[in-house]
Structure formats: C-alpha cells, structure tokens
Symmetry: C2
Subunit: 361 residues, 2 copies
C-alpha cells in the first residue's frame, strides 16, 4: 500500500521518548489508551493500567484534574508498569506538579491552558527534567478566538491552532513534543492530519478519532481514519477512543496495526462468515480460537473455515488451519493435512499443534 | 476526501438492477449480507431475511448447494421482502434452476463453476429472463491453473481471473453483471480493487474483505479496506463479512457508509471516551442512547458527553446533545441549553426533545 522506495512521512518525524517508549522517526507505532478510573483511587487506577498492559498498551494517560489527583498521581507513576502521561486541562500548576511527580509526559490543550506565560512555565519545567509534552488540540475545546471564526473549516481551525502552538514551543527552543489534533468526524480527521503532516513534517503525530462513540461505531470510525492515514505513512502513535472499556481501545488499536501489516501482537485469525453450507458451530469455534490466541504471541496465521468452498484453500495458505465438514475438522499445517478430528476436539487439537510447532508461544 | 470536481470511478460504472435495487453508476451504495440458515429451512431463512431487512440490508444472498435447496429457494424468493441472490458453487445446473426460481441475481465463482460451456448455459438463461450475474472471484477458490502460478501475487491472480471471466461474458454480449474479487488481507483487497477499477472502469464492483474473522477483527479489516476504497470512489455495493450474526454485518456496513458521509440510516452519535473526570455512568447512557437511536431514521447528530472539557463544545456542535456533570445533564438543542435534568432522567428527556423537534422520526 505504501511506496517503500521513498521515505514515509513518519520516517521523517523527530523521535520523542515517553518513558522507555520511542515515538516517531519510523519507530514501531505505540498503542495508547487512557484510564477511566478516579485518579484518586490509586488501587483501581493501577489495576486498570495492569489490565491495559496485559492487552498490549504501550503508553497510558491518566487525568489530573485536582491537587488531590496530583497527590495520587505520584503513587501511580511510581508503581505503573507503563509510562504514564498526565492529562491536564485549565490549570498550568497541575502540569508542573505532574512533571515533578514522575509523569512520563504531560498532555496540555492549547484551547484551555490559558496564556503563553503559563505555557512557558510548563515548557521550562518539562525541559528542565526532560519530560516531553503532548500538545492535544481538540475540535470540542478550541481557543475561543479560533473557534468563533466561522469562515474556517474544522480542519482549518485545528491546523491553525496546532501550528500557532507548536511554533511557540519551537521559538522557545523546545522540540520534545508530540502533536495531536482530534475531531469526531472521519473525513475531518483525515484532512487535518494530512495537512499537519505536510505543514509540520518533523513533528511526530499522535492520531485518533475522538468522541467516536460506542464500540461498533467507534471501531469503524477509528479503523477508517487511522487506516487511511497509517497506509499513507502518516501517524507515529495511535489512540482509539471508544465509549467502552479502555482495554477494548487497545485491542482495536492492535487490530488496526495488524490489518495494515505495520505491527502484530497476536497470530492472525482468518475465519469465514458462515453460510447455509456450514455444518459445524463455526461462530462458536472461531470465538474460542480467537480467545485462546490472545495468549499466543507468535505472529503466525491461523485459518478457521466452515466448508469445502474456500476452506481447504485458505487453510492451506495459513501457517495452520482447520477446514470443517459435517461434525469434523481437517487440520492443515503449512498446506499439509496432519489430523482429522471430531468437531468437539477441533480446538484442543489445533492448539496442541500450535504449542508443539511454535513452542515459544 | 474526494475531489468532486472530477467524476469518481463509481460514477462511471454501468448500472445493474438486482430486484428493485440499483448498483453502480453513482447510485446510493447498497448494503448486502448473506443468510447462514439452512436454505432448506424456509421459515428460518425468511425470518433471518426479515431481520436483515429491519437492520437496513438492501440485498441478501442465500446459498443453493443442492436440488433440495433449489426447491426451497423458490418459496424464499416468493416471500422475501429483499431481492435474493442465489449463491452457486460447482454445479451450473443449480444456477439455471435458481434463475428460473425467481432469483434476483445469481452469484457464480469462476474458480469452481467449470468449463466455459457451462458458463455459457448460465449466461444464456440469465440473459433470457433479465437476471444479472455476480462474478465472485475468491482467493481461497481460484481456478487451479491460476492459483498455481507462483510468480503471481494474490492481487495479480485475482485480477487475472476476474478479467478473463468478464472478457468472456462481454464477448458473448452479456453486460448485466457485477464483479467481486475477495481476499482476507486488507492491503491485497485494496490493491486488487484499485486495479480492477482501473482495468475495468465500466464494471460495477461489489467490495468486501472475505474471511475477515470475528466481530472485532472483521469490523476493523472491513472498515479499513472499504473505507480506503470508498473514499477513493471505488466500490458500488458492499458486504462486510464477519464470523458473526449477519445482521451485525449490515450494521457495520452502514457505520462505514455513514462514517465517510456516503449514506446514512440513523442519527450520528458523538460520544466521548470516558476518563477520570466522568461523574455519570456515561458508557451505560451512551449505549442506551445508541440503542434507542436505532428506531430513529432522521439523519441528525446527537452528542453524549461526559464532562466540561469538550462536552459543551461538542454538544453545541450537534443538532441535539447532553453534557453530563455530577449526577445531572444539560440538554442542548442547536447550541442552546434547553433543559437541565437529573442523571436518571437524561435519556428520556433527550428522546422527548428528539421526538418533539424531529417528529418524522
């Protein structure tokens, strides 16, 4: 999909380090999410961070809306297995507090952080200890003077706001930042990030569709927007926003990276839609296989096919696969039939072969 | 996303009519699915077709693998509220039978339908009664002579197979067909359809990712591939393949068309990912709103926001919205606050306002 003879936009961005995780300059694309626990509930927040880590999250964000939250934030950073980004709105002093508390980065929003004097205080504090900043522009909370310019499109407003802010940071000699500009619309998200990538070719971009909705709609919107952008080489780190469990954001993020072949955490599952030919409980089998594959971290491809039309063909193309017939399954490994088993033995037999042949998993 | 000053590829394709539904030539993009009931179980198949219709399905496919299925197929076509496409593999006589039984179209697969003599018999029978054909090429069931050419990429094989087949139909004077070429990989799906659109600019394309997997992975893969293609103007009808309930395929299909602004069935829901600032059960509220919006068929935008950061901004940008604070919600209509209600009254109040202001829904 990408022309690899010329450099991709994301290979030209500066590298920024968030904890031990590198963003930009062609580094593997980190998957981010955000806690939805109360930050003052340290135990619940750490439990959620551990769950996110287990699902493959690389960087986590935690809101710091009050001084009480800032106090808890110290303990969260100290015990977190992932680098923690402090999410700051309105109050620049909380950003300074978070920087001193062990934040791996701070996210500030040009639309609501106030005057450039306050921004400069944050920049200086961050620069002193080497903590990067994420500039998070959002269509729902633009600076009022920009938001009210009715002649500008949403993309115009986001790009304009982002550039005036990044310019300010760079003029002060601060380059250790990542930029995001988010909106809930897919075409607007694509246009905004294409323009940012052109106008600011050296700035690493955090991409995502914000307020994308519940699981189905949010998954679709993020997949399209991030799929289009990543395939064009745009985007250095991703966050899928869903009105759902944050772990689901991470799982969808990995599916997006896997689908375009950029980064893979688990085996690829190839499974057919069922039809009137299917003679086994294929939906049930595929779901169970998918769940057990979550424990396997070898990037093999696994086919679960319901009939003789495409079944043997796809199962042969995969590293391992099963083509199901009436009450039974044929297990293929690299194109050769290795076992014929009864329906209720398919899943165990499949994983026996996976464990035996790819033992590192 | 598309440059509307020049003609899109899909505006240049021939129109093909499947029942009362038009595919191609820039017509609204129909959403398709396929039954996974036994075709011989007429009652179950018709119940599923009615459920698919309720979810917005435009065209449904039903497998016809045996003569017994062909016998049931007559009754299904007679009672179906949607045009029914017969899915035929291996046996050309079943295609002829389906054409005579009231099929709105027949889908045949060049990889397994046998000699061109048999194909010609199908073409002639279809031409005689004006039934269109869908040519369905699939990477898992290519003609053996093509499948075994190791030097060709998957996209090469699919395009080559598709063109040799469409050429044959056109040489026989038959133009009433739609073409699909499917594979389970996203980059291969995109490349194949881009090439088909260039090589066969007048042939309407049915696009989709096949064997895309279970709900999450399948939704992601179809969203990316169809999103990229549709945004480039490629694709005249879609089917999302999922190893899941076919109605979910239709719901995801509509989400894809809505997200890129091509076609919309329900209101747009804008809802934020929750975070540590959220003081209401926003996931629960958003899910309930989403469900009730399924009954509304006016293309308004509805925002459900969890806090004061982006909440009022997004809620103001929507036709109607609620910004939630501690135990309460502010309802906005076209940017103006109209009501302030308690948390447990938010959903009812929102739908009271929707019903009152957009009564056609």
């Amino acid at each position: 999909m990408c022309d690899h003879t010329q450099q991709l936009p994301r290979e030209q961005t500066r590298q920024v380090q968030v904890g031990a995780v590198v963003i930009g300059g062609g580094a593997p694309i980190p998957v981010q999410s955000m806690c939805n626990t109360k930050t003052t509930d340290v135990a619940a927040t750490l439990a959620q961070i551990r769950d996110l880590a287990k699902n493959g999250c690389d960087i986590v964000r935690v809101t710091v809306p009050t001084q009480a939250a800032a106090d808890s934030f110290v303990q969260i950073c100290a015990a977190s297995p992932l680098p923690v980004v402090a999410d700051i709105h309105f109050d620049w002093r909380l950003a300074i507090s978070a920087i001193k508390s062990g934040a791996a980065a701070v996210r500030i929003n040009p639309g609501n952080i106030g005057s450039f004097d306050h921004v400069d205080a944050i920049i200086d504090a961050a620069g002193e200890v080497g903590v990067p900043i994420r500039i998070g522009v959002n269509a729902g909370s633009l600076d009022k003077a920009i938001a009210e310019q009715d002649k500008l499109s949403i993309a115009d407003k986001l790009v304009h706001s982002a550039i005036s802010f990044t310019d300010h940071l760079e003029r002060r000699g601060f380059y250790d930042f990542v930029l995001s500009a988010k909106v809930h619309g897919v075409p607007e998200t694509i246009e905004t990030n294409r323009r940012l990538s052109q106008e600011l070719p050296h700035v690493p971009l955090h991409i995502g569709v914000t307020e994308a909705g519940t699981r189905r709609q949010g998954t679709v919107k993020n997949s399209i927007a991030l799929g289009v952008l990543l395939a064009e080489g745009i985007g250095d780190t991703i966050r899928v926003s869903l009105t759902d469990d944050p772990a689901e954001e991470v799982r969808v993020g990995w599916e997006i990276l896997s689908a375009i072949g950029l980064r893979r955490l688990h085996p690829e599952l190839v499974s057919c839609p069922t039809c009137g030919r299917t003679q086994v409980d294929l939906i049930g089998i595929a779901r169970q296989v998918e769940q057990r594959l979550q424990q396997v971290r070898t990037p093999i491809s696994v086919a679960v096919m319901g009939c003789v039309v495409n079944g043997p063909g796809e199962a042969r193309g995969a590293d391992i696969g099963v083509a199901c017939g009436k009450g039974q399954g044929m297990i293929f490994v690299k194109g050769k039939t290795v076992r014929k088993v009864k329906e209720d033995e398919i899943i165990d037999a499949l994983f026996e072969e996976i464990d035996r042949r790819w033992p590192s998993s």
